[in-house]
C-alpha cells in the first residue's frame, strides 16, 4: 500500500508536474538504477529539491529512501511532522545537539543498516538562492561508518528561483538535477570525505554551466 501511495504521489503526479509545468530536467538519472542502496548528497536551495529527488526514484526505491530533514523545522508541530512523514518518508533529526544526547548520526546509520537509502543536504538549510554554503560534517561521519555504501553526488540549480526560502508562490523556471557517478569513500578522515563530496558537487556544477554557456 505504502509503495503504491508513494508511487502515485511521486512518479505519476509529482514527476509529471515537475517536468511539464515547473520545468525540472534530469541528467544522468540512469545512475540510480545501477545501485540498490545509496546516499544521495545534494546542494539545497528550495523545498522543490526534495520533491525533485524523490520523483527520480523507482517504485522499489521510493519506499526505502528517506530524505533526512530537520526535526526542529519539520517536526515543530505534531501535524507538520505527520504530514512530512506521510508524504516524504522523511527521517527527522535534530540539527542541534540536545540534552538527551540523541545522536542524529545514529538514526541515519540505523536506517542504512536496515538496507534503506538516504537523501542528504549537507548544507543544513536552504540558504540564499543559487548560493552554496559550507557543508556540515555529518555526511562524512556517516560514510566513514559505512564505507561499503555508495554515495551519489547531485548538483541542482534553478530550484531557488522556483520556490525560494520564505516564498509561497511557485513560479516555473527551467531547473536541472544533475546526477554524478556513484562512488565510495576512500579515507577514514571525516573532513576529507566531506571535502571530496563538496568538490564533486561543485565540479558537477562547473561542468554543467560549461555545457550551456560559452
Amino acid at each position: 500500500m505504502r509503495s503504491v501511495f508513494l508511487f502515485i504521489i511521486y512518479r505519476v503526479i509529482m514527476r509529471n508536474f515537475l517536468r511539464v509545468i515547473v520545468g525540472v530536467k534530469y541528467s544522468n538519472i540512469a545512475v540510480l538504477n545501477k545501485h540498490q542502496q545509496f546516499i544521495l548528497v545534494a546542494n539545497h536551495n528550495s523545498h522543490i529539491d526534495t520533491m525533485a529527488l524523490m520523483s527520480a526514484l523507482s517504485f522499489t526505491q521510493l519506499k526505502s529512501t528517506h530524505p533526512v530533514a530537520a526535526g526542529d523545522y519539520f517536526g515543530k508541530s505534531p501535524l507538520k511532522s505527520f504530514i512530512t512523514r506521510l508524504f516524504t518518508n522523511a527521517l527527522l533529526i535534530q540539527r542541534t545537539k540536545n540534552a538527551e544526547g540523541q545522536n542524529p548520526i545514529q538514526a541515519m546509520s540505523a536506517s542504512l543498516v536496515k538496507g534503506d537509502s538516504l537523501i542528504l543536504f549537507p548544507e543544513g538549510s536552504r540558504g540564499e538562492p543559487q548560493k552554496m554554503q559550507q557543508f556540515k560534517k555529518g555526511v562524512g561521519l556517516l560514510l566513514k561508518k559505512h564505507p561499503n555504501i555508495a554515495y551519489i553526488p547531485v548538483y541542482m540549480t534553478g530550484m531557488g528561483r522556483i520556490l525560494p526560502k520564505g516564498e509561497r508562490l511557485l513560479i516555473p523556471f527551467d531547473s536541472y538535477v544533475v546526477f554524478g557517478e556513484a562512488s565510495y569513500s576512500q579515507t577514514d578522515d571525516t573532513e576529507a570525505i566531506v571535502k571530496e563530496i563538496e568538490e564533486k558537487i561543485i565540479a558537477l556544477g562547473v561542468a554543467f554551466q560549461k555545457s550551456i554557456f560559452e
Binding site: 520545468g23 534553478g158 513560479i171 516555473p172 523556471f173 554557456f213
Partner: protein
Amino acid sequence: MNLAQFSANKEVAFIILLIIGLLVFATLLFFIWGKLKPEANLIELKLRTKSWWTMALVFILAIVINPIISYFAFGLLSFMALREITTISKNVRDVDRRIMIWCYIAIPIQFILAYNGYFNLFVIFIPVVMFIFISFMLVIKGETTEIGRSMSVIPTQLMLTVFSLSHLAFLLSLPQIAGFNAGGRGLLLFVVFITEINDVFQFTWGKLLGRHAIIPKISPNKTWEGFIGGIITTTVLGYFLRFLTPFSEVESLVVSFVIACAGFVGDVVVSAVKRDIGLKDTGNLIPGHGGILDRIDSLAITSVVFFHIVYNLYYS
C-alpha cells in the same frame, strides 16, 4: 473531423503524407550518416527532426481526433518557450519573479481568444493590455531601480513566445472561404512547412557554398550564400505548395519570399538574445533537454507575418 473527412480533404492529406515521407527520409539519413561518420556533430539536426516528428504527430492527432488538441499543443509550446526565455534572461531583476505569474496567466487567455476567433481582442491583448498591465504591476511593486529594463524585457519575452505562436492557433479559427478547401489547417501546414524547410535550406546552402558571413558577430554560420539559396528554394517550393492556400500564383511567390526573409529575421533575433547572455548557439547541449527557443526561433516571426498577410488579403 473524422477519418472520412480527413481523406476527403485531399490537399491536407497529400501534404501530410509528403511530410511523413520527408521525416522518415531525414531520420534514416541522419541515423546512417551518424553510423558512418560518428565524429560528425548531428545533435542539432537530430533534435530538429525529433521536434518535427512531434509537431507532425500532434497535427495529425488534432485532425483525426479533435482540433482543440492543436490549441493545447501551441499553448503548451508557448508556455515552455516563455519559461525557457525567462530562465536564461539575465535582464530581469530578482524582484520581478512574482510578476511572471501574470505572464503565465496571459497564456490561456490568449489561446481562448484565438479559439473563439475574437480577432480584435486577440491582436491587442498582449501588445497593449499585457504591456500596460505588466508596467503597472512593476510600478506597484515599487522597486524603481532599472524598472525600465524590466518594463521592456518582460513584454518582449511574451511577444516572442506567446503572442507569436498563438497566431498559428488562430489560423485554425479562421472562417471557411468558398472555393478554398484546405482552410485554416492548410494555412497552418503551409507556414510551418515553409518556415522549417527554409531553415533547412538556408543551413544546407550555407554548408555547401557558404563563403561570406552575413552577420558574423551574431551568428558566424550565417552566410550570404545560404541566405540567398534558402530564399530561392523556399520561394519555389511555396509556389508549388500554393494549393494549401487561397493564394494566386504571384501571391504565393511573394508570400513565400517574405516568409523566407522573416524566418531569417527570427533566427538571428533569437541568436542575438542568446549571444547577449553568453549562451551557446545550439542552445542547451544536454540531449533532449530544453532548446525550445532554438526550435521555434524562425516560427516566432514567420507566424505573425504570415498571419497578417493572409488575414488582410482574404479574411478582413
